[in-house]
């Protein structure tokens, strides 16, 4: 007999996850983290978030888009709401080739696979190329979402240093030679050559051919991730690596930064033989990218002045970059340095020696400003003196206020270091999985 409110007692030894012993080894790093928890505060409007990589969509022609979406449903609803081919909507693939032509790429629509954002394209490429233990080379620092993907396939990431002109060819050659001497297999070089996330630097055009030559000589594929390529602040466009080598480069593209990230439409352009496998992999991963979303992108490209829209994005992001750089110049203490990007979303800042940006993060949240600690962009624990500052989302006046707050936080941290001496970084155990706050 139980009284109201009484339940059978749940006593004994309990692990709150009964599936714990069933998980694959690759799920081992999927744990709660303080860093991610702090981003819950960063998403509040009281906080100036220089952390998020979310594009600012305020300039999109929403009314007109709404009308076009309505027309798609009304006129082609039975197609738009149906499964599609894993390859992607044919018309969109043709249009994507026109977009890529802006960066000198002459791709064939048949060699292109439409994916759920370029994140899925990266996942598919890693899936078909990497066995556990294979090496992937990536710039140091590199996109946190890519590091998460490589970790999930148990690939080992080795970073290649960058300077103001991007990936350093000598360092690339040395990394490849070292792997070869150790008898290790490097599957591909992953690079974001334009307005790198998170570093903000661009691979010099003069280096591009050399990087391709080095990879070809070592029989290593190049995966070129180029979400920001059309967001040069002066309208400048750099030749894509894929435009220089069609046989050894897989190109990943996206409409997330130039149109609408929520539609999740990206693509991979691959050498013909690889494309066959990508289509099969895409089919097993998602059957197909959402047909409706592909048709919305296609209609947008067909009916809107999308090049004009990109120009307005360029202007908007340039103003925000200017606000960030000007704030840094005005407020940051001695010993800080930063990149000055001519496109994209991000500035990479190095803070004075001894400051650990991850350890400092709670103080920043208290001061209502957020950034992403640098360690998240390395697979090997480096980056404790760096942080990524994004200027894409907040308006310029909020960016200025955020930098002012950040300078105060840094001053307090330096005061602590003066008291206690330099700290040793408590490095992350591995790449954090991507979230909209860090992507």
């Amino acid at each position: 007999m139980t009284t109201p409110g009484q339940q059978p007692e749940r006593t004994g030894s309990r692990s709150l996850d009964p599936h714990l012993r069933r998980y694959a080894a690759r799920a081992g790093g999927m744990t709660a983290s303080e860093v991610r928890a702090l981003f819950a505060v960063a998403s509040r409007p009281e906080v100036v978030s220089l952390a998020g990589g979310m594009p600012n969509l305020a300039a999109l022609p929403l009314e007109s888009l709404s009308e076009q979406v309505g027309r798609i449903i009304a006129e082609e609803g039975l197609t738009a709401l149906q499964y599609g081919s894993a390859h992607g909507v044919p018309l969109l693939r043709e249009q994507i080739c026109e977009v890529m032509a802006l960066e000198g790429i002459s791709g064939h629509p048949d060699d292109l696979v439409v994916t759920v954002g370029s994140q899925m394209a990266l996942d598919l490429v890693t899936r078909i190329f990497c066995d556990p233990g294979d090496i992937v080379l990536a710039e140091g620092p590199s996109y946190v979402g890519a590091l998460g993907t490589f970790a999930s396939y148990q690939a080992e990431v080795r970073h290649v240093v960058m300077d103001a002109d991007g990936l350093v060819p000598e360092a690339l050659r040395a990394a490849l030679d070292a792997a070869k001497q150790a008898g290790r297999r490097v599957k591909f070089l992953y690079t974001i050559p334009n307005f790198n996330n998170p570093a903000g630097v661009t691979m010099a055009v003069a280096r591009r051919a050399e990087v391709l030559d080095i990879c070809a000589a070592h029989d290593v594929l190049v995966v070129e991730d180029n979400p920001y390529g059309l967001l040069g602040f002066d309208g400048q466009v750099y030749p894509a690596l894929r435009s220089m080598d069609r046989d050894n480069v897989i190109y990943l593209g996206s409409f997330s930064k130039t149109f609408a990230s929520g539609l999740r439409v990206g693509w991979a352009l691959a050498p013909h033989a690889v494309r066959e496998k990508l289509v099969l992999a895409a089919e097993s991963a998602a059957l197909c990218a959402p047909t409706l979303n592909q048709m919305v992108v296609s209609r947008y490209l067909a009916t809107h002045d999308w090049k004009g829209q990109i120009k307005s994005f360029q202007t908007m992001y340039r103003e925000r970059r200017d606000a960030l750089i000007s704030g840094l110049e005005q407020h940051m203490p001695a010993g800080c340095s930063w990149t000055n990007p001519d496109g994209g979303f991000f500035v990479w800042m190095t803070v004075p020696e001894g400051v650990d940006t991850k350890a400092m993060q709670p103080r920043a949240v208290t001061a209502r400003v957020a950034y992403v600690p640098g360690t998240g962009f390395y697979a090997d624990g480096f980056g404790s003196r760096q942080m990524r500052l994004s200027f894409c989302y907040p308006p310029p006046e909020r960016i200025s206020e955020g930098v002012r707050r950040l300078a105060g936080v840094l001053a307090q941290e330096i005061d602590l270091l003066n008291t206690f001496g330099p700290t040793t970084s408590r490095s992350l155990t591995g790449p954090q999985t991507p979230s909209p706050d860090t992507a």
């Binding site: 409110g5 599936h19 650990d356």
Partner: protein, 316 residues
């Protein structure tokens, strides 16, 4: 079926916002299952107008850290005359500050690990190393460092070697202005939930915490499966009674109300040491209070619905 409606406050801007949102969702669902009408509100600029306009029968505070536990939200609710579940303003102030709570219990003769609390300014003005050396001399190693206020083990670290101290201090001071340094007591870590009822405060079965990594840090707390919980704790009858007595004593001495959770450690000799008390304990899927309620054969939703009734009755 209750005809009560309550506002559950969750979120806020403390470092524990994420945990608070999860606590809010869990307790809201539990209250709904007990027939209570619930709205979940964030603690932001919209809160006061909402409270004034809607005037819920009572508020359940699922905010962790800062405003939710230091008496601030409680003060606002008292200003508006809205009943709430949990400790009153004065008790919040005493219990929220870990050194104050430890001092109060030590004065009453209860065991708590030896401790010192120091602000950053002391280290800056006197020089860090001599002060750190004095701390090590007094407390020994390993030593526990915690922010003097706050929860979820954020910023807390076990320091095993003197060389780790400066880095641990910097990490800890990122969360608060002062550090609570405690002698580390090795033993069985337990958490005891105390619930007020018609016969006064009652301790629920202690939950024994056995983290896989050996340290019950943020990751071990909020990743299901990384910690094994034993309910009730694997303690002899005498020790189990001592643990329960400690928790009820802490609840009474600090003037707490409705619900509290006391964290303690049982050393190799069976002595029970008070670590800290939680005024707004975590209520998430991996939290200890819901676990203790279930272990006692009670319903989480009905317990909280009962606490809402107590809060409403207090206001009459």
């Amino acid at each position: 079926m209750s005809d009560r409606w309550v506002a559950v406050l969750a979120g806020g801007l403390s470092h524990e916002r994420d945990v608070s949102l999860r606590s809010g969702r869990r307790v809201s669902a539990a209250l709904r299952s007990a027939g209570v009408v619930v709205e979940e509100w964030d603690a932001d600029a919209s809160l006061l107008p909402r409270l004034r306009e809607s005037r819920p029968d009572a508020v359940v505070i699922a905010l962790h850290g800062g405003e939710g536990e230091n008496g601030s939200i409680q003060t606002v609710l008292e200003l508006l005359g809205i009943p709430y579940v949990g400790a009153d303003v004065n008790a919040c102030r005493r219990g929220w500050d870990k050194p104050s709570a430890k001092a109060e219990l030590a004065r009453a003769g209860l065991l708590t690990p030896d401790w010192v609390v120091l602000p950053h300014s002391t280290f800056r003005e006197l020089g860090a190393q001599p002060v750190l050396d004095a701390m090590v001399e007094r407390l020994g190693l390993p030593m526990m460092l915690k922010p003097h206020q706050g929860g979820s083990a954020l910023g807390a670290q076990v320091v095993r070697e003197a060389g780790e101290l400066p880095t641990a201090m910097v990490g800890c001071l990122a969360y608060s202005d002062a550090v609570l340094a405690e002698k580390y007591v090795d033993g069985v870590e337990v958490a005891v939930t105390v619930i007020d009822g018609p016969d006064g405060p009652t301790a629920l079965p202690a939950v024994e915490i056995a983290p896989e990594s050996g340290v019950y840090d943020y990751t071990a707390r909020y990743t299901a499966g990384l910690t094994t919980f034993h309910t009730p704790a694997r303690l002899g009858a005498e020790t189990a009674a001592a643990v329960a007595d400690l928790a009820v004593s802490a609840h009474r001495l600090l003037g707490l109300r409705d619900v509290s959770r006391t964290d303690a450690v049982v050393d190799a000799d069976g002595a029970v040491h008070f670590l800290e008390v939680n005024l707004s304990p975590g209520l998430t899927e991996t939290s200890l209070v819901p676990m203790a309620i279930e272990a006692a054969g009670l319903s989480f939703g009905e317990i909280y619905a009962g606490l809402v009734e107590r809060a409403v009755a207090r206001a009459r």
